[in-house]
Each structure stands twice: as C-alpha cells, then as structure tokens.
C-alpha cells in the first residue's frame, strides 16, 4: 500500500493564555488555554463569532496572537509566520488554485519544500490515491464536483505530513448526504495515519460524530472542554446545554441534598438526581426534549400542561407544551398523536435531567 509512506509527524498543540485583539477593542479570543494531544482529533465548536476560526488561524499562523504563547510539539511558534510552521489547513472554500491542475495543486507544497521531482510526483500521486482520486491528476479543479474538490484539498494538505492538520468548516459547502460520508472519510484517514487534527465547525452533530474531544467556545472564551458523550450528558452551563443538542431549561428548587444526590422540585414534580455541587436553594435544570414523556391527565408526580403546537417530523413528533414551569419542547415517537389544545402530563426519564453546576 502506498499509503504507508505517509508517516506521522503528529505533534501536540498548546495554547497558554492566548488572546487576539482586533484594532484596539475587539476581543476575538480572550486568554484561551487549551491542549491538543498528538494524534487526537479535537473540534472547536461554537456559534459564529465565538472566536473558533480565529483560534484555528492562530494555530496556522495566519493570525498572530496579541498575547500569550502557542506551542506546537516542543517548539514555541508564537511569532513564527504561517510559511514557516509545519501546519497545513483545509479551507472552507477549499482554496484550490484554479489555474493549476489537481496534481499541480497537490504537489505545490512539496515543490516548495525542495523535494526531488520524482519524489514530488510519487508522493502527490499516492496522496491522490489516499483520497480516492488517482487518475484525476490532470483535471482542473473546476472540472471536479464539490466533494472531489474537497478531497483534493485534503490530499494537498496531507502530503506535507504536517505536525497539525487544520480543517475550517470543511463540510459547509457540501450537500447533506455527502457530509456524512466526507466526515467519515476524514475521521478514517485521521485515525489510520495518527494525525493531529483541529477541526472547526458550528454544527454540533458533526462535532459529536467526528471528535475525540470537543472544545465549545462562546463569546471569545472556552465554555467547556470534553469528550462528546461528556458534553452531551454533563453540560456545565446553560450555553453548552442548549448549544449541544437542544435542552429545556427549568428554574428548579433543591429541597434536600443527601451526599451527592439532590431532591429537586419543579412545579408539582419531585425528582432525585446528582447534585453536581448544588446546595439547597434555587438551581437550573436542563432536560433533553427526547428525555421527556407525555402522559394522560392524572399521572402522579408530573408536570401538567397544555399542548400548544404539534408537528409531525417523519421519524418523530415535536410538541410545544405550556406548563406552570414554562414552555417545554418535547420530542416523542411518531406514533404519539396529541392534538393542539389537549391537556397532558409530563415526566422526565430517569437519565434525562441534569442539574447545572452553580455559576
């Protein structure tokens, strides 16, 4: 297999108190510290304007940190420009050079690093083979489909055996069906070659699917770092709870704390869950819409409410229920058939609700 010739020079990435200020006042990234292990795929996730792309570009050297230090492997690269960093990037727009053929695009970086001609060709072709595009070398980028262009961009970045490979929203220009396949391909290559990958996206589903770990960013700071499962099950604040898989947020009352378990009251309902550091008093409770069941009126220990909206979404039903504790979004089986105006009772599944740690 020619793939084997791409060894891994994967290195870790370390940010210490890194800030980026545009102009005099605009804080794009606010003293962020993070660590990416060698060979790990880490996603920067957040809404637009949260600073994730700026963070990525600072790893690439396309933006220079205003303060703090950046290390790749053991080298301090804080002041090293992009040209001299051993990092390559796959751009949102792919950024294939339109005046060069696919092969020329893939060999561009290799030629610059003064490799011998024969080796350049050899590596470029095995790069194309790796992404399943051998035989397309003489085409122009404009003659390829979006998915193929994307793969050329990946090959172009891969053949340089970078210490870190960066992806800036690589799937946003692809149609929905292709996205799943391309993201699986990226993950497969990453695991096979043991690459360090930093991946930017605003799509939480994409992030959950590809990452070893996710760094959620909001308003220029890190909101939470963790494995996908951890973020979904144990969000540390309202932002993360809502951004990663929607969540209903309730004002709740902790009435009793026994060891690590807390007794919580929401309206007329009482549940017992992990205290997460909360003491007796008011607290915030996050519940996934999939973890709420609908019952007929009269169910004990439940929240009663009225269905305000009901929409059929094929695989499931979506309800908007008005309760004493506020509007609740519920996702149920497609088989349930509650009509607008019907009186219902809500209950949380035992694994569903999470008390958010006190702020």
């Amino acid at each position: 297999m020619s793939e084997s010739q791409f060894g891994s020079k994967a290195a870790s990435v370390e940010f210490q108190q890194v800030s980026k200020i545009y102009g005099k006042t605009v804080m794009a990234v606010d003293s962020v510290s993070l660590h990416v292990e060698a060979g790990e795929l880490v996603t920067l996730l957040g809404p637009s304007g949260c600073g994730k792309t700026t963070t990525l570009r600072m790893i690439a050297g396309l933006e220079m940190a205003s303060s703090g230090s950046i290390k790749i492997g053991d080298t301090d690269v804080t002041h090293v420009p992009a040209t001299d960093r051993d990092v390559s990037m796959v751009f949102q727009s792919y950024a294939l050079f339109p005046h060069m053929t696919v092969l020329e695009n893939v060999s561009y970086g290799l030629k610059i690093s003064k490799m011998k001609k024969a080796e350049v060709l050899d590596r470029a072709e095995s790069g194309l083979e790796l992404v399943g595009l051998s035989g397309y070398g003489s085409r122009l980028p404009s003659e390829l489909s979006g998915g193929q262009q994307q793969r050329v961009a990946v090959a172009r970045a891969l053949v340089l055996e970078p210490q870190v490979l960066l992806f800036d929203e690589p799937l946003s220009n692809l149609d929905a069906k292709l996205r799943r396949q391309v993201r699986e391909d990226i993950r497969e290559i990453q695991t096979k070659l043991g690459l360090t990958v930093v991946y930017v996206t605003h799509d939480q589903e994409e992030a959950l699917a590809v990452s070893d770990r996710i760094i959620v960013m909001n308003n220029a700071v890190i909101a939470q770092i963790g494995a996908p499962r951890e973020l979904y099950a144990q969000p540390v604040n309202e932002f993360v709870a809502d951004f990663i898989g929607e969540a209903n947020l309730f004002d709740a009352q902790v009435t009793d704390v026994n060891d690590t378990l807390a007794t919580v009251t929401i309206g007329d309902m009482q549940i017992t869950i992990a205290a997460n550091g909360n003491a007796v008093g008011p607290a915030r409770l996050a519940v996934r819409p999939q973890a709420i069941d609908l019952y007929d009126v009269g169910e004990p220990n439940s929240l009663s409410g009225v269905v305000r909206k009901a929409s059929y979404a094929g695989s499931h039903m979506e309800y908007q229920v008005e309760t004493a504790a506020g509007q609740v979004f519920v996702v149920s089986d497609a088989e349930t058939d509650r009509t607008v105006g019907a009186d219902v009772c809500l209950r949380f599944r035992s694994t569903g609700p999470v008390l958010l740690p006190p702020a």
Binding site: H79, R85, M89, F91, S93, A95, F97, H99, I112, L160
Partner: protein, 731 residues
C-alpha cells in the same frame, strides 16, 4: 544575515565600487563611459575610484554605512533584534547621508550660503546621480526595510515591507517631492529668499481672483474662469451621461452595443483632437459656420473660440467618462427595490422619482466631481480653442514658455489649480466613499430592472441621439479632415498631409522614413511601450499591498498613491521641471522623465484595475499557499499574478494608450531628442498647419484602436470597458 540582506549589500558595493557614480551624458547603456577613461576619469568613475584619487570626499561615509552591517553582524550569532537594529541604522544613515550630500553640494559647489560660511568655500561640484548612486540608494532602502521587517513589522515579512518601502520611496520622490519643490518656489522671490508676503501678493493677484466681470468689466480672474467652466462641464456631462446610461440599460433601444462602443473613444483620443474637430465645424472657415453664413448671409465670426468652444469640446470629451461611471451606478440599483416599490402600488414614474433616482444620488455626485476634475485638468482643448478665455491649466503653460518664463508665477497658478482639484478629490473620497447605495459588484440582486417611464425615456432618447450623431460627426470630421487640402478654402481631396507626415522612401540603406512625423511617432511608441509595463507593475503591486496586506498607516498610503489622480498634468509638468532640473536628480531632457511622469500619472488606473480584480480572488487562496509553506513573494508570483492576467493586460493597455494620448505634462517635458506625437501635433496646430495635425491624430486613433483590439483578442473575453467602468466608479 539572510540571503536577501547579503544580496543588497553586494549590489550596494557593486554600485559603490564598479558603476559610474554620476549621471552619464550619453546614457548608461551606450557604454561609451567604459572605453573613455573608466574607471579613473572623474566623469565616469565609481565612487571608490573617486575617493582613491582624493576627490568627492563627502562620499566616504557612505562606504562606512554600507560596511556597517557586515562589520557589526557578519555571521556571528546575535539576537534577531540586534541584527534588525543594525540594518535599520545602516539604512537610515545611508539614505539620509545620500540626501544631505545630494542637496548640499550641487553644480556650483555649496547649494546654501549658510554652508559656505560654516565650512568655508568649496572648490568642487557634483552632477546628478548616476547608475552607481542609484544602486547604492536602492541597497540602503532595502537594507532599511529588511531592518524594519526584522523588528517585527508585518509579521516580519521582508518582501512585503520591501515593497511598501519601495512604493513609498517612489511616491515621495516623484509625487510629493516635486509638489513641495513647486510650493517652495512659489514662496521665493526672484533672488531666492523666502517671503510669504510676496507669495500672497502673487497668489491673490487680480489676474487670478479678480471679479471684474461681475461689475461690468471685461474679464474675471483665471481661477473663476476655470471654476465656472468646470462646474458647467461637470453638471452637463453628468446629465448627458445619465441620459446615455438610462438609454443603455433601461430601454428597448436596439443599438445599445453601439452606444457602449462610443465609450472607448475618449480613451483612445488625444484630448485636443475634439478641439480640432470643433474648429473644422465651427471655426471661421468651418463647415457649419460657412453653411450658416451663406444661408443667412451673415459675416462668419470667431464665436467658437473661448468659453463656447472649450465647453462643447470638453462635453464631447468627458461625457463618455460620466457614462462609464453612471452605467455602473444605474445597473447597481437593486431591481428588487424597484420591484418592491411597484408592488407597493407606485407607478413607473413614481418608482423612478422616489426610489431609483435617490439611490443614484451618490453616483451622480461622483460623476460630477470626475467631470469637474477632468475639466480643471484639461489642457489640450483650452489650448486649441481658448481664445481670450484664459483658464488655469493653459496659463501655467504660458507662464513657463514664451517670453515670460516666470516659474514663480507658474507655480502660484499651479497651486490655485491644485487647490480646486484636491478639494474635489478629497470631497469625493471622504464624503462619497461612505455613501454608496449601490451594490459593490455593479450587479443587482436578481430581478429585472424596471423600464423607464415615458416622460423620462423620450427626453433621454432625444439627448442621447443628438449627442450620438454629433459625436459621430466629430470623429468623421477628423478622419476626413486629414485628406482635405486646406479646410474651408480648398476642399479638394489629397494625400499630401499623410505623405508629408508619414512618407516612406528608399535609399542606399533600405527603407527611409522620411516623413516629418516618424521621429516623434517612434519615440512615442518607444516611451509608451516602456512606461506601460512599469505602470502595470507599480499599480498592481500597490493594489496587492492595499487589498491583501495590513500595515500601519495604510490609509495614508492609499491616499498618497491615489493622489496623483487629482494632480493635473500641467502641475506635474511644472513641478517636474522645477524639481528635476538640477542635481541630485537630474532628469530633464531625458526619455526617463517622460516615462516616470507617465508611471505616476497613470498609476491610479493600474491600482484601481488591480484592486477591482484582486477583490474577486478569494483570500483563502493566498492563505492556502502560505500554509503550504510558500512565502509571500512566491505566493504573489505563483498564485496572485497568474490569476490576475486579465487585469494585468487591461492595465498594460490603459497605460500604453494613455501614454500615447497624454499632452498636459508631456508638453513641459519633451526635448529635441525626445519629442512626443501629441506635442508635435500641438506644434503643428500652433503654426495653423491643421492638415498634418489632423492626419497625424487620425493615425494615432487608428493605431490605438488596433492596440486595444489586439489586446482584446489576446485576452479573449476580457471586457476592458466594463473593467474601466468598475474601476472608475470606485474612484
């Protein structure tokens, strides 16, 4: 030290030790200096040999500054910061010393009395800078920029800082320095002492600002004449241009393409040619004058000479420019806004009046200011048609040539002219820059433009048709006029003028170009062909820096590079004469001064074309190249330049054509050896030799049409007119 630092140090040393330090009478490339006493003859000697013979000892410090980086750094391990500071110091010292010695010691020894009293009399002199001095200057400049980059500017990018330094240096030397030189000469009296009083007396002279005509006198000051004309022309060209633009975009008119073709004409027409055609039509023996005189039995008059003539000629010349700007503006009004108005029950007329027209307002103001500036700066038409109506641009010329030769007066007039154009330029940038309602691409966001309401369309048709017919007549006149014996007196057809101007004979040596015009024709082609690629390079490099790089003082940088757009050619001409007539930069009488004046006059066109096309190249292409390990220089040459090929060709064509048609700056800078076509033609006109002048003009127009056509063929589907219209509307 890195490779590029070594390279510039070595080049600097070559300049210092091997190339002739001073300018060569017979040109560097003749290499006569090489066989005529080099390297010891002081006229040809490099600085090193001058010093070894104990001459020009003031050049000695330069050697120290050149050797400073080598001595202080060598290859020893020092901190990056230390090395950068050494380079910076060497560069600053070198450049300042070059300037100080250059301006202190001139053709007659000390240039300033004070220096003579301070250091005692100097029995020596020096000429303008030659190849050696130039190379040393370049070396110091790039050592300086390398030092600045080393201290961390623009992420330490040597190429970018070097390019910025180069552009700043060139703009300073060839735009700001001459203007300042001109200002200072306006502040001096005839003995060379500075005096604000004399300046004010000269500046506020009645001949410039007098308002006699309002009180029943015969004449107003030239400044008022210019202003009145410019406002009139700016207003009229805007109205005409708008009528054209509306017909071209919002009517069912069948020959829109033809209408657009008319817009190429002013680009390829030398500015005074329209004036000539007007004389053929309305002059004392002009066709229409004669016809009307016979019809009504009137005495033909010279009414056309003066305001009416200049006004008509400038309208003809500049309406297409307004059209180019306004077509972008009219197309830029979003059709969906008009559709929205219509769905809100507005009639076509109401939509036009309440939505379309108000949205075009900034564009209209822009067109007005462009027309204003063009009219102010126009030199050819007033020269040919001015009569007793004096305007600033021609008065400047007459102050320098002819009996007066009063450089101070020319400078004062130039300042008055500059105040007007710079004010308009400033207004255009500061006030209109932020006020565009139209989409940037010049394309609407889908939907169809509403056709014009009848009550707008009919007047537009009428105006556009009349003007179109008039324009065609005028150009017909020019082409036909070259074949007429003596216009109005003897209308027999003849090849006489073409044979006189472009006759070809054979002699013992082969083809012999014996026509009187060949000399200036070849010179023009040569100069224009030299200037075009240089203009394109400077323009595109500047555009790249402006669009793609971030650095401190970028706004000032942009303003400086676009400034020459607002400096009338006559002002450039005068200021170049004042600045480059004496050492250290001695350029008058050379071909180089013509080339340089073209580069900096036409630079804004190249910059705008470059900015327009570079904005369409995705920035992530550059970034991809950088993350793949290419440096900025490689990214610029391998990615940006190939993608900009159409813009490069457009810039080449424009600068070539504009160099061939320019007259205002040229007329001050031509010499016996380097005479240009346009100044030759003006010379013919002044001798009332209209036949040859018109024949020559026709030839120029045809040649340039051929060049534009050829280039269009080469680039395939690159629509240069559209490109210009985009770039003009960004002005």
């Amino acid at each position: 030290m890195n490779k590029s630092t070594w390279l510039w140090l070595v080049l600097g040393l070559i300049g210092f030790c091997l190339l002739p330090w001073y300018v060569q009478e017979d040109g560097l490339w003749g290499f006569e200096w090489l066989v005529d006493g080099y390297p010891f003859d002081p006229d040809y000697a490099p600085a090193l040999f001058l010093l070894m013979q104990g001459e020009k000892l003031w050049l000695l410090p330069l050697a120290f500054w050149l050797l400073l980086p080598i001595a202080a750094i060598g290859n020893s391990p020092k901190t990056v910061r230390y090395k950068a500071n050494v380079l910076l110091l060497a560069g600053v010292l070198g450049l300042s010393w070059l300037a100080i010695q250059g301006y202190s010691i001139g053709l007659r020894g000390w240039n300033y009395e004070a220096l003579a009293t301070l250091f005692g009399p100097l029995d020596d002199r020096q000429y303008g800078m030659g190849a050696g001095a130039l190379l040393v200057t370049a070396a110091f400049l790039f050592i300086l920029t390398t030092g600045i980059a080393g201290r961390g500017a623009v992420n330490g990018d040597v190429f970018v800082v070097g390019a910025i330094g180069l552009i700043i240096a060139m703009v300073t030397v060839f735009i700001f320095f001459p203007i300042v030189q001109m200002l200072s000469s306006a502040l001096r009296d005839n003995d060379g002492t500075y005096s604000l009083g004399i300046f004010l007396a000269k500046f506020l002279d009645n001949k410039i600002w007098g308002l006699n005509c309002l009180q029943g006198g015969t004449r107003c000051g030239v400044a008022w004449n210019s202003l009145f004309l410019a406002v009139l022309v700016g207003f009229s060209t805007t109205v005409l241009g708008l009528a054209f633009a509306l017909v071209a975009t919002r009517s069912g008119f069948k020959y829109k393409k033809l209408l657009r073709a008319l817009t190429v004409l002013p680009i390829i027409t030398p500015p005074f040619v329209i004036g000539l055609a007007i004389i053929l039509l309305f002059g004392l023996s002009g066709s229409i004058t004669q016809f009307v005189a016979e019809l009504f039995n009137l005495q033909p008059t010279r009414w056309i000479y003066g305001l009416p003539g200049i006004y008509i000629a400038q309208m003809l010349s500049f309406t297409p420019i307004a059209f180019l700007v306004l077509i972008g503006v009219v197309e830029g009004v979003s059709p969906s806004m008009e559709e929205a108005a219509q769905t809100l029950r507005a009639t076509k007329w109401q939509t036009f009046r309440t939505v379309s027209l108000p949205l075009m307002r900034p564009g209209l103001a822009n067109a007005f200011l462009l027309g204003f500036i063009e009219s102010m700066a126009d030199f050819g038409n007033p020269l040919v048609l001015g009569g007793n109506y004096d305007v600033l641009s021609t008065e400047i010329f007459f102050a320098i040539v002819g009996a007066q030769n009063d450089q101070g007066k020319a400078a004062v007039l130039a300042i008055a002219l500059l105040i007007f154009t710079l004010t308009a330029f400033y207004a255009q940038r500061r006030w209109l820059g932020k006020k565009s309602y139209t989409t940037k691409t010049g394309k609407g966001d889908g939907g169809m433009h509403v056709m014009l309401p009848r009550r707008v369309l009919l007047p537009c048709y009428f105006i556009a048709m009349t003007w179109g017919v008039f324009t065609v007549t005028v150009y017909g006149m020019i082409l036909y006029g070259g074949f007429v014996e003596t216009w109005g007196l003897n209308n027999t057809l003849t090849f006489k003028h073409y044979i006189t101007a472009f006759g070809i004979g054979y002699n013992d040596f082969g083809i012999h170009f014996k026509g009187a015009a060949w000399d200036s024709f070849w010179t023009t082609l040569k100069i224009a062909a030299t200037a075009a690629p240089l203009t394109a390079i400077v323009g595109l490099l500047t555009a790249w820096l402006l669009v793609r790089q971030n650095f401190a003082g970028k706004n000032a940088f942009e303003f400086g590079t676009m400034l020459s757009f607002a400096i009338p050619g006559t002002v450039i001409g005068v200021s170049y004469i004042l600045a480059f007539n004496v050492p250290p930069i001695e350029l008058t009488g050379t071909g180089a001064i013509l080339v340089i004046s073209f580069i900096f006059r036409n630079m804004p066109v190249g910059v705008r074309a470059g900015i327009a096309s570079m904005s369409q190249i995705d920035k992530s292409l550059d970034e991809a190249s950088l993350t793949l390990g290419a440096n900025t220089w490689r990214t610029f040459t391998r990615i940006i330049l190939p993608l900009m090929r159409p813009a490069i060709l457009a810039a080449l064509v424009f600068s070539f054509v504009r160099a061939m048609t320019a007259i205002s700056a040229v007329i001050f800078l031509v010499s016996a050896e380097y005479n240009m076509a346009t100044s030759y033609i003006i010379g013919r006109v002044e001798n009332n030799d209209y036949g040859i002048a018109i024949a020559y003009s026709s030839v120029l127009i045809v040649v340039m049409l051929a060049v534009v056509g050829l280039m269009q063929l080469l680039v395939g589907r690159v629509d240069t007119r559209r490109r210009l219209s985009q770039s003009e509307s960004k002005a």
